[in-house]
Amino acid sequence: MRRKDALIAEVAALLPEGSFQERPFYPNLLNQPSLLYIPELGKLVTVHLYDFGDGITWHSALGALEDLFELKTTVGPFTKAVAIVKLPEDTNAENGDMVRLLANSFDAFLALQGKFSPADILRGILDAGVREGMFPLWREEAMYQRSALSRVIDPDAYASLVKPALERLPQGRNLKARAMELLQDTFREPVIEGRLVDSIKSSIGHLSRTYRFKFDFMVSTHPPVLVDVLDGKRNGMRERLRYMMAKARLIRYRVGPDGIVPRAADYRPLALVGGTLSGPNHDPYRYVRALRSVGWEIAREEDVAGLRRVLEP
């Protein structure tokens, strides 16, 4: 694949002066688009470039899907979201589904295979329309996010999570094993390891089979608490966070007779964090806010009082 910047520059060279920005910056997006383009007043196009040439995983595919959710909920549902993708050479049923999920969710999905020119890419961008059938989902998510954020953020409650000094855990320490003990001690309810949960992933992606999300633990409280253990570190957290965000969003819906609808709050997702969850220096609560906005409760492992507090109704 040509270098990302070079490819975008070639496409941008075909656009009218002043109508686009390479490497735009939206403060609320975890992964910035490569290109922002205004074809006419009141129309907005964003382009993300993904290089899956070395392989695609559910983590990377759902990270890309989270980019789409963030665009539609924070930049606006009318934004035309384009994904330009370099695909892996070997395909099988499962990674075929990963690609299908993105192809059936983004407004335009352009796979870079064989020979392609910047003009072909631009045509693909311009020809696509916005998927209006997804509007109810984007609207529901936007409302959920705003409501979830209105319940946060008391900085004191999360201060211990964003201390930069809390680096990775000492080697050899098994965070999951400790988490299991902590959950059992705190809740005194059965803790199930590796719980699978239904989601709308297969439905929105028109996938070949039904997939479910695996959580590290489920505590059998009412409603049950779904726990993922997060080994937080100062750098390289964004892909993991984007995956977790997509996961929390997709389990919150079900497919009804009239399409995708929110389902009753029958689970409470909880991120149990070891290490630090500190965001960039100018915005240390960035990742706390991101996870909270999609429904994750967050607690530090070892902080039993904090754990009890975040799960109070």
């Binding site: 920005q21 735009p24 205004i38 009141g42 907005l44 924070t74 549902p77 409302m143 954020l149 946060v152």
Partner: protein, 152 residues
């Protein structure tokens, strides 16, 4: 500073591409943002930050007033002749815009902005430092981005 410039360019393009872009008052907000962009070139520090506060505050003020007024008129409510940042915010949070409201953190940010703006615009020889200025502009940008998602 490089991120700040990128962010400012993004908000300018975003306003031109958002669903409110064709409204006359929003065109004024876009022009106000070009002035904000140009204000960064003012060589004297105190003058530069004064101009930046002035343009950033006018941009958010005008946008929220326009949205509150448009939504109020559309829904048949009696709307005031003059809007302030506070009254626009209250109307948006009370009635919503197409079912959406500002999130909690943004609502708080807009309140903070009002206080900061009043301090800097009304108190003699009082200027923000560069970091305070960036925080102020960052808050206005976040608020404008959230407002631009409201359906007209």
């Amino acid at each position: 500073m490089r991120t700040y410039k990128r962010e400012l360019k993004t908000i300018l393009l975003h306003l031109r591409g958002c669903a409110w872009a064709k409204h006359g008052n929003v065109q004024n907000v876009i022009v106000e943002y070009t002035h904000l962009d140009n204000a960064a070139k003012t060589p004297t520090g105190a003058r530069r930050v004064s101009l930046q506060i002035f343009h950033a505050a006018r941009a958010i003020d005008t946008l929220l007033a326009h949205i509150a007024n448009h939504e109020g008129t559309k829904c048949g409510r009696q709307v005031p002749q003059y809007w302030t940042l506070g009254s626009s915010l209250r109307a948006i949070q009370l009635h919503g815009v197409g079912g959406l409201r500002f999130s909690g953190p943004t609502e708080t940010d807009i309140g903070d902005m009002t206080d900061s703006r009043n301090t800097y615009l009304h108190q003699a020889n009082c200027f923000p430092n560069d970091q305070d200025m960036q925080v102020f502009i960052n808050k206005t940008i976040r608020a404008i981005l959230e407002a631009a998602v409201f359906p007209p």
